[in-house]
Symmetry: C3
Subunit: 174 residues, 3 copies
């Protein structure tokens, strides 16, 4: 049994992606990795490659920095499980672009309720440090926190990761 | 049944205020909202207005950026419940003022033990990011963390919020 | 009964050291405090002194900013319990030095499996804020998160502290 919508929340390097991959693997469905990262620089390129190496060869991969609503519609089937990794980079890409972030968020929340197969979303918690001096970072933190809340309220399973260990925040599993 | 002192801890946009309002609402007592925010700029003004719109009309509101000890004494009765939102902005106001932060903190911890009605305190956890480069931010983080510990040790109920979901850290409810 | 390896994780001023000291005290073994802090400036000097004052007089203290593998070998016996406080400052010292951080980390993970007595490690979670603008801070955050995961996977007990309250993330205690 796999939940319709799972949210894996945590800090940087808390083991979110790795845990999400295990959940997808255990589902028995065909995993589709929906990557939102863009290999802008060497640092990000290295991180993307490390993630790729870790995933089994039978996973299919979709790279989409912005239009994830369309990518989710394309990737989700009754026999597949989509792993969206990660919401934070997607939101960051939106903030760096000319796109309407609010419109995209509404579209995402809406499409998640109509997909035929399960989805696992990886997302960062970014609001537990000192208030950023940068106004854009403050705005990002606010929009991101609100988005995490909305995803969590729709999700059947919400996990908080710390040091590679999962903590269940919400479970609709009976 | 409502606890004498409740602490709602969490990051920015983690759903702290909203959850605290629900607790106050469910208590059956007359809620008094004790706001520590000052509408210095448009960003903060907008946030304060959004909070106000969300609260039911029968709530009374007290605005006090610094002298919350006196405000708590004034607001707390046997038939009311005070929601202090939030400790972080109060401490930030103290740091930005000429007031003696330590003296004010001692006063707060002391008055909390003598109030006739229950109090819910909303506070940020700010120590889970990289060490701030700014020395004042480091000092603030230290004083804030120590204050959260002291409030938590007095509290009957301590909740950690993440993505709008509550996690009980402490409960004296039997 | 005391676990072979305990990890106490948390933010700044979350009560990690204090909780770790209580665990060490309760073990009945002879506590050795292995301090990684260097009194570079007045702020750090004050913090170190406050920690020292809090510990009972019968604790022995070892100060070692870098070579903790050797210090652990020296301090650990069947009748002692070593409290390493903290991993974050050690890693920070390594980053500020010419030492090979990866080599030192491998050495630490290896020595932890061979010590005769139990060890408690205090460490910060630093990845729950906004992405740092500073590239070195980002690298530190990544290496630190990965190290926390590795220590946690070896540990028998992992505790997350918030506002002085412990939350068990992992326990092999049956």
């Amino acid at each position: 049994m796999i939940e319709k919508l799972t949210l894996i929340l945590g800090g940087a390097r808390s083991g979110k992606s790795s845990y999400a991959e295990q959940l997808a693997q255990k589902s028995g469905l065909a995993p589709v990795y929906l990557a939102t990262a863009e290999p802008h620089d060497a640092e990000m390129h290295k991180r993307i490659e490390a993630h790729k190496q870790r995933r089994p060869a039978h996973w299919s991969t979709l790279e989409e920095p912005i239009a994830i609503v369309e990518a989710l519609k394309k990737a989700s089937t009754e026999n597949s499980i989509v792993l969206l990794d990660c919401l934070t980079l997607w939101l960051s890409n939106l903030f760096a672009s000319e796109h309407d972030a609010n419109g995209q968020i509404v579209g995402l929340l809406s499409v998640l309720q109509t997909l035929p197969g399960p989805v696992i979303i990886v997302s960062n918690e970014v609001g537990l440090g000192i208030v950023p001096e940068n106004a854009l970072a403050r705005a990002f933190r606010d929009v991101h926190g609100a988005l995490n809340q909305k995803i969590a309220s729709q999700a059947d399973l919400v996990i908080f990761m710390a040091a590679g260990l999962p903590l269940v925040l919400k479970s609709n599993r009976s």
